[in-house]
């Protein structure tokens, strides 16, 4: 356990994970989750798991944020529609 790279990567992941929970707005959380995915990929690389790092990059950097933001958009669009549709 004398590898500073591992320590740094672990602390990055811990910080990003804590932030991802603390940030309550889903859009901002999606941004933090993208960075968390990246930090995890870095951690996996220093733990000598390039295969896992690669799949984390593939999933975490574009796919998960896209899914989250599309859900947010759908939810917001629907709420907007609702407020518009209500008689004032």
């Amino acid at each position: 356990m004398d590898d500073p790279a591992v320590v740094v990567a672990l602390l990055l992941v811990a910080a990003a994970a804590t932030t991802a929970v603390a940030v309550r707005d889903p859009v901002r959380q999606a941004l933090v989750l993208a960075v968390l995915g990246l930090a995890l990929a870095v951690l996996f690389t220093v733990l000598q798991a390039p295969d896992v790092a690669l799949s984390q990059l593939a999933v975490g950097s574009a796919l998960t944020p896209l899914l989250l933001l599309l859900s947010v958009r759908k939810v917001r669009r629907r709420q907007k529609q609702e407020t518009k549709g209500e008689p004032e």
Binding site: L54, S55, A58, L63, L67, L70, S71, K74, R78
Partner: protein, 246 residues
């Protein structure tokens, strides 16, 4: 239950669980230890079957049955999403309006798209040699197609993405994995046995017996599945609207 009580419960439960897990961590073998019996056997067997990427050997040969389950989870989740996000009776489709995209962004998207798809295919093809494989490459290739939506236009994406075809591809790739497994039973060895094909030369694209074939099936399955999945989400976010008055 109000928020305060819930928070107290979470803190109490979390503290108890934390105590238990920290005590467990102190009993763990130290980080970076040298004892990995299963891992060492897996490396040995992988080299014996001339698969350069040991992780690919574990995934597609030694523990190929896990991968079958994992692929099925993906398959089932995508099928479930298709069912859950179907267009219901009280919804209609509205054609999305075209999007303005700044020219450099558009040019970038169109230029990177083929590069990204090729990279995805490269990652799949070299799965049994270098880091990567069907899962990673499949996701990269499928994500790359959506550059068309991000950098150009939803309708451009729809033109190159007949979802029905991808659904069929998803199912056929899953069947291919199963059929390769069943071939082992028919040949009298065992389900998913990697004994049918020659193991080839170490560190070449065709080495490892059935590993490259299973890897390719997974790559196709994942790519198709992700495309279908995103298609459903995009449908909901972009096209489907509730009818007014509901």
């Amino acid at each position: 239950m109000n928020r305060r009580v819930r928070l107290l419960m979470v803190l109490a439960g979390g503290a108890g669980l934390a105590a238990l897990l920290v005590a467990a961590c102190l009993d763990m073998p130290g980080f970076g230890g040298d004892r990995h019996p299963y891992g060492d056997r897996a490396v040995h067997e992988s080299l014996a079957r001339r698969t350069a990427n040991t992780i690919a050997s574990v995934n597609f040969d030694q523990r190929a049955f896990d991968t079958l389950g994992e692929m099925t989870i993906l398959f089932g989740a995508v099928l479930g999403t298709v069912v859950l996000l179907r267009q219901t009776r009280d919804e209609r489709r509205a054609a999305p309006r075209p999007e303005d995209v700044a020219p450099p962004v558009r040019r970038y998207a169109l230029a990177v798209l083929p590069v990204a798809v090729l990279t995805g295919l490269y990652v799949i093809a070299h799965g049994q040699l270098s880091p990567g494989g069907g899962f990673q490459g499949g996701v990269v290739a499928a994500t790359a197609l959506h550059l068309l939506y991000l950098g150009a236009d939803y309708r451009a994406l729809e033109r190159i993405r007949p979802v029905g075809l991808y659904e069929v591809g998803d199912a056929l790739a899953a069947s291919a994995y199963l059929v390769l497994g069943l071939a082992g039973v028919l040949a009298g060895t065992a389900f998913l046995a990697n004994t049918l094909l020659p193991y080839g030369t170490f560190n070449t694209l065709t080495s490892g017996g059935t590993v490259p074939l299973l890897n390719a099936a997974i790559g196709m399955e994942v790519a198709c599945a992700v495309v279908v999945l995103l298609a459903r989400f995009l449908d909901q976010a972009v096209e489907i609207e509730e009818e007014s008055g509901t």
